[in-house]
Structure formats: C-alpha cells, structure tokens
Symmetry: C2
C-alpha cells in the first residue's frame, strides 16, 4: 500500500527506540527518549500516531494502552537508506564515501579489521 514510508527525522528517533526494544507502550518510548531528546510527552505521542498512520508501526491494545512495534525491519530500512544516500552523494560509489568518512573521523583498529573481513568475504564469494 504505502509506497515509500517517508520517515522524518523526529519520527526516526521514535522508531529507533522501538527497534531497540519492542513492543513498548507510548510511555516506555517517552521515558526511553528522555535520555536523548527533550521532547514533551505529547510530541512523542504525536510521532507514534504518525508512524502508525504511515504504516511504519503497528500496535496491539493492552487494556487501555497500546503496545507499539515496528512493521519494518531496521536492516531493511538502513540498507535502503544507505543505498539512497550513497547514490545521491557519491554517485553510488561506496569507496569515496568511506574515504571521506575515514578522513573526517578516525577509523578504529576494529573498524579496519571489520572492513577487511568484509572484503575477504567478498573475495571468497567472487573469484
């Protein structure tokens, strides 16, 4: 039905805490967001509602409250967004993006070994 569930920045934050742990009541979400964001409870409720309307969240009633949960997987979302991002900003080429990142942030030894592992895996698959 919904083609592209456009998720706004604020909505994303809400979705993010639900990805971390769900189902959760709106209040759970409010509480967990308090760490990161300084949002009014009403604001969070609004965002939850919008995400439901967009088909991004589902819920079940538990007595009078709702238990919310994501309808889309974090991995699916991040993969799609990443493809999009790389295509828009880097003409679809991943290496320049990594280069820019590495040049702006410091790569940890672990980052590098993870990247090497990825490459090794790729090479085993394609040769």
């Amino acid at each position: 039905m919904q083609e592209k569930p456009e998720i706004s920045n604020a909505e994303f934050e809400v979705l993010d805490v639900l990805w971390d742990d769900h189902p959760a009541t709106s209040n759970d979400v409010v509480v967990r967001l308090n760490d990161k964001k300084d949002w009014h409870e009403k604001t969070v409720k609004t965002l939850l509602g919008r995400l439901v309307k967009k088909g991004v969240l589902g819920f079940e009633k538990q007595q009078r409250q709702y238990l919310y949960y994501p309808l889309i997987a974090r991995e699916d979302y991040t993969k799609k967004e990443t493809t999009n991002f790389v295509s828009r900003l880097f003409k679809g080429k991943i290496a320049p993006m990594v280069a820019g990142f590495a040049n702006q942030n410091s790569l940890s030894k672990q980052d590098v070994s993870e990247l090497k592992a990825l490459i090794k895996e790729w090479e085993q698959k394609n040769d």
Copy 2:
C-alpha cells in the same frame, strides 16, 4: 551566522549541478537540471534564491543576470552528512554500513580494490 545550512532534497539537486560546474546563470542550472528533473524554471529560481538566503550559494551580477557559485565545498558537505548519517543509522560504525550496502548492492571489483587501497593507506599511517 547560519548554524546549520539545512539543505532540502530539492535544493540539494540544484547545489549539486553547481558543484559540478560553476559559476552558472540560473538558466544554465535550469538547462542542466532538465536531464534529471522535470522542474519548472520558476521552481529552480526559487530554489536558487533559497540557497542564497541560506548562505549556501553566492552570486555576482553579470549585467542583469546572476552568476551563482557554491559557498560550501562538496567534500565538506558530504563528509559532514556522512558522519551524521553513519552516526544516526549505524551508531557511528562505518563497517556495518558498508556491510549493509554490499549486501544490498553488488560491489564491483573496483569498489573492492579501492577499499583495499584505503585500508592499506590507513595501515601505513597507523601502525
């Protein structure tokens, strides 16, 4: 002055062609965008104006027309956006983002060799 020049998607397209080649008149931009986008000339002009107001573009008058040019470098912008993106979607870890990308798109042999080159460079610098 302007803290974070929030650049919208549509605005980005305009900025993008100016990064490719500048300075350029509004009409140059309109023409070059015709390939990609199906935007009315007036729309493009509006976007140019908004980018100027946001401090993202500058211009010089050439007789009656303006010659626009970017005030921020593509590299600076993409680096910042990338850091942001990776931090939001991947808790700041680059490897998972590359993994997701690789898993969604096909990495070319060249992508891989570029990544390897990056890593080699990193290793030479940090050991």
